[in-house]
C-alpha cells in the first residue's frame, strides 16, 4: 500500500513537471557564464524576453526560452542534432563552428539575405567569413575580438621606457619585457604573462613565419613542426626559462589570481573580454591592479627579419538557425531583432567584445572607453578567422598544442620533440576519418 502511494507520487511528479506549455516556444541556446555583474546579466535577459513582446505585436503569442549550457556546449548540440531536438536558434563560437556549418546542422540563411541585400553590409567583412561557404551563409556574427598584446602603461612609465611602436619585433619585445621585469621579491613583477592555452599563442607561430596545418587543412606534420615553429617555441620558452621575464606555469597557478589584473605582469596576449575585469578608478584596497586608464593594446610583434604585417586571429560569436527549427521565419525574425542596432547596442554595453555591427562598434568610439576601443578596432578588422571555423575537430589540435607548450615550458621536452609529437598526434586524430 505504502509502496503504491509512493509510486503514484513519483509518476505524478514526473508527468506534472514535464507538461508542455501551450504557446509555441522559440528555443535559443547559448553557453553559460558565472558572471558577477548582475545588472548586465539582467539586461541581456531582458533582450531575450522582449522578443516575446515584439512577436506579440505582430499577433504571435510565443515563449522565448533561453538554454544556457554550463559545459560541453558542442557535445550537447551534437546530441540534440542527432535526436532532432536542436534549439531553434543556436549561438556559435567561431572557434568550434566548422562542425556545425559543414554538417547541415544549420539552415542556409541566404534566401532571407537575398531579400535584404544590404543586411550583411552592416557587419565587419572578416567576421562574415567564419560561417560563409560559397554563396551560403549559415550564421550572422554578433561580436568579436582580435587577440592583441595588452599592456599596462603605468608599468612602462615606472620603468621609464616608451610604449611599443607598430612594426615591433621579438627583439623589441624581449628588450621591453626585460625592462619591465622587477626581480625585487617584495614587488615582483613580470614583463610578460604567457599562457599554454593554444588559442592564446597560436599567433606567435604565424608571426614567426609558421603555420599550424597544411594548406588543405589535412595534416600537421611538416607545418606544425616546421623549423620556424620550433624557433618560435624556443623563443617563448626562453622568456620563461632563460630570461625569466615571464612566470613559470607553477608560479601562475600558485598565485591563484590573474597576474596581469593583479598588477604583477605588464603584458599579456588576450582579447577584448579582459577589459571587463579592470576597474575604472584605482581602489584603495588594491592599488596595484591596473585601471582601464592604465591599459593599452598593440598588435603582436613579429620575428626580426620577417616581412609583412603582424598577423592575429579573432574569436567571435554568432547566431544561426538550426536545421531542426520548425518555424525558421520566426527564428530569422529573432536573429534580425537580435542583430538590430538597438539590441546590439544594449548587448554590447558590457564591453566584452567589439560588436560585429560597424555602426554599433563605431558608436563606442565616442563612448567613455573610446581610446581603447579605437586601439582594438584598428586591429580587429584585420584579424583572421579562427582555424576552428574551417577545420572540424580543431579542439584536438588545441589540446595537442597545449600539451606541447606545457612540456616545453616545464623543460621535459625540447620544442622540436614537443612539436613533432603534437603533429603526429594531430595527424593520427585526423586520419581516423578520411577527410576531403
Amino acid at each position: 500500500m505504502r509502496r503504491s502511494i509512493l509510486l503514484c507520487s513519483i509518476i505524478g511528479l514526473l508527468t506534472g513537471c514535464a507538461g508542455p506549455s501551450a504557446k509555441p516556444t522559440l528555443r535559443i541556446s547559448t553557453w553559460g557564464q558565472a558572471g558577477d555583474d548582475s545588472d548586465y546579466d539582467r539586461l541581456v535577459e531582458s533582450i531575450y524576453e522582449d522578443f516575446e513582446k515584439v512577436a506579440a505585436r505582430e499577433g504571435k503569442q510565443i515563449d522565448v526560452r533561453v538554454e544556457k549550457m554550463p559545459a560541453e556546449y558542442v557535445p550537447k548540440m551534437v546530441l540534440a542534432h542527432i535526436a532532432g531536438v536542436t534549439p531553434d536558434v543556436v549561438t556559435l563560437d567561431a572557434s568550434s563552428s566548422a562542425l556545425f556549418v559543414n554538417n547541415g546542422m544549420l539552415k542556409d540563411l541566404s534566401p532571407y539575405l537575398r531579400q535584404e541585400p544590404e543586411f550583411l553590409e552592416q557587419f565587419f567583412p572578416n567576421t562574415l567569413q567564419t560561417a560563409k561557404r560559397g554563396d551560403k551563409v549559415f550564421a550572422i556574427p554578433t561580436d568579436f575580438t582580435p587577440m592583441v598584446v595588452m599592456l599596462n602603461k603605468r608599468h612602462f612609465e615606472e620603468a621609464g621606457i616608451a610604449l611599443p611602436k607598430h612594426g615591433w619585433t621579438w627583439d623589441d619585445f624581449l628588450r621591453i619585457s626585460k625592462s619591465l621585469t622587477v626581480r625585487d621579491k617584495s614587488k615582483r613583477r613580470y614583463g610578460f604573462l604567457l599562457t599554454t592555452w593554444m588559442p592564446g599563442w597560436v599567433m606567435w607561430l604565424w608571426n614567426g613565419g609558421g603555420e599550424v596545418l597544411d594548406e588543405a587543412n589535412l595534416k600537421a606534420t611538416g607545418t606544425l613542426d616546421s623549423p620556424q615553429n620550433i624557433a618560435t617555441l624556443a623563443f617563448l620558452k626562453s622568456l620563461v626559462t632563460e630570461h625569466k621575464v615571464a612566470p613559470a606555469l607553477s608560479q601562475i597557478q600558485a598565485s591563484g589570481v590573474d597576474l596581469f589584473a593583479a598588477g604583477q605582469a605588464s603584458m599579456q596576449v588576450t582579447g577584448h573580454w579582459a577589459l571587463v575585469g579592470f576597474p575604472k578608478e584605482r581602489k584603495a584596497d588594491n592599488p596595484n591592479a591596473p585601471t582601464l586608464d592604465d591599459i593599452s593594446v598593440m598588435e603582436l610583434p613579429i620575428r626580426p627579419g620577417r616581412t609583412g604585417p603582424s598577423r592575429t586571429v579573432f574569436y567571435a560569436a554568432g547566431t544561426g538557425i538550426s536545421s531542426a527549427c520548425k518555424d525558421p521565419d520566426l527564428a530569422w525574425q529573432y536573429i534580425r531583432y537580435w542583430a538590430s542596432q538597438a539590441n546590439q547596442t544594449r548587448y554590447n554595453s558590457s564591453g566584452i567584445a567589439i560588436s560585429a555591427r560597424k555602426d554599433v562598434a563605431e558608436a563606442r568610439l565616442r563612448g567613455p572607453l573610446g581610446r581603447l576601443e579605437r586601439e582594438f578596432q584598428r586591429i580587429g578588422p584585420l584579424a583572421e578567422p579562427p582555424i576552428g571555423s574551417r577545420v572540424e575537430g580543431y579542439e584536438s589540435v588545441e589540446n595537442a598544442g597545449r600539451e606541447a607548450m606545457e612540456s616545453v615550458l616545464s623543460g621535459s621536452r625540447t620544442p622540436e620533440e614537443a612539436l613533432k609529437i603534437a603533429a603526429a598526434r594531430i595527424d593520427r586524430e585526423f586520419a581516423k576519418e578520411p577527410r576531403k
Binding site: 509502496r3 558565472a34 531536438v85 534549439p87
Partner: protein, 279 residues
C-alpha cells in the same frame, strides 16, 4: 589482566594516530571554507593569513543570489531528484535482490551476472543511446530525464543481494510454513532485517545522485532544470583558478547540503552498517 600503563600508552598512541588522520582528512575542507571567506579575486592566502581578518560573506551573497542562477531552484531540483532516485532504486533493487538471494529459479546466475556485468561497461558511450531513448519518451529537460535513468542500479542490487544472503534461510522457511507469501516475507521479514543495508545503499545512491554531473548535464537544457552540481560547475569553468575565493564559495554551497544529509543520516548509515554486521 594485562599491564595497565601499556594499555594506556597504546590507547594514547591510537588516539594520536586517529586525531592526526582526522586533522589531515579535514584540512582541505577547513581550508576551503576559510578561503571562501576571502575577498573575491584575492590571491591564495599564505598560511599565516589563512583566517581572514574580516570574513567576506558577500561571496555567499554573490553565489546564492546570482540573478542568472536560481540556486534555490538548483537545490530543490537536486533534492527532488536525489530523493526520488533513492526511493525508486531501493524499491527496484531490494525486490530484485530478494529474488536473487532468496528464491530459486532457472537462469538466476545469468541474471545476476547480467547485473554485475553491466557495471563493468564504462558508461560514457552509453549516453548516446540513453539520450535517444529519453528523447523518444519525450522526457528531455524534465525531472523524468533526471530520475528514471537512476531508479535502477546494478550496484545496489549487488550490495543488497550480498546482505540478504546473510539473513538465515530458516526465517523465510518458517514464515512460509505459516502460510506467508513471498511478498509478505519480503516486506515483513527481509526488509526490516535489512534496514541497515537499505540505509547503506540509500546513502550511497543519494551521494552519487547528488553529485552526478555528466548525465544530468546532457539531458537538461533550461536553467530551471539544472541540479546544484551542474548549475554551479560554471564557477570552475569561468574562473579556472583565477578566483579561488568565489570558486571555493561555490564548492561550499554544493557540499553543505550533502554534509547536512550525512550528519542527519549518519546515525542510521554509519551505525546501520555496523548493526548489519553485528546481526
Amino acid at each position: 589482566m594485562r599491564d595497565k600503563p601499556l594499555e594506556i600508552l597504546k590507547g594514547t598512541l591510537a588516539h594520536m594516530a586517529l586525531i592526526g588522520l582526522a586533522i589531515a582528512l579535514m584540512a582541505p575542507f577547513v581550508w576551503m571554507v576559510l578561503v571562501s571567506l576571502h575577498p573575491s579575486r584575492s590571491p591564495i592566502p599564505d598560511i599565516g593569513k589563512l583566517v581572514p581578518s574580516q570574513p567576506e560573506w558577500d561571496n555567499y551573497r554573490k553565489v546564492l543570489f546570482n540573478p542568472a542562477m536560481p540556486v534555490a531552484r538548483f537545490f530543490w531540483n537536486s533534492l527532488i531528484v536525489a530523493i526520488a532516485v533513492v526511493l525508486g532504486q531501493l524499491f527496484t533493487a531490494s525486490m530484485a535482490a530478494y529474488a536473487l538471494a532468496r528464491l530459486n529459479f532457472k537462469g538466476r546466475e545469468t541474471v545476476f551476472s547480467l547485473f554485475v556485468g553491466s557495471m563493468m561497461f564504462a558508461g560514457l558511450v552509453l549516453q548516446i543511446p540513453v539520450y535517444l531513448l529519453i528523447r523518444s519518451f519525450g522526457w528531455l529537460d524534465s525531472y523524468a530525464a533526471l530520475i528514471v535513468p537512476g531508479i535502477g542500479s546494478a550496484f545496489s542490487v549487488f550490495l543488497l543481494r550480498q546482505f540478504f544472503l546473510s539473513i538465515p534461510m530458516e526465517l523465510s522457511e518458517a514464515a512460509r510454513l505459516d502460510g506467508a507469501t513471498d511478498f509478505q516475507i519480503y516486506s515483513r521479514i527481509i526488509l526490516p532485517l535489512g534496514k541497515a543495508s537499505l540505509a547503506t545503499a540509500g546513502a550511497f545512491t543519494f551521494f552519487g545522485t547528488w553529485t552526478d554531473f555528466f548525465g544530468p548535464m546532457l539531458v537538461t537544457n533550461s536553467t530551471e532544470m539544472r541540479t546544484l552540481e551542474v548549475g554551479l560547475s560554471v564557477y570552475k569553468n569561468s574562473y579556472g583558478g583565477t578566483n579561488w575565493p568565489l570558486q571555493m564559495t561555490a564548492a561550499v554551497v554544493v557540499m553543505i547540503p550533502l554534509v547536512a544529509v550525512f550528519l542527519a543520516l549518519q546515525r542510521y548509515f554509519v551505525r546501520g552498517v555496523l548493526l548489519g554486521a553485528g546481526k
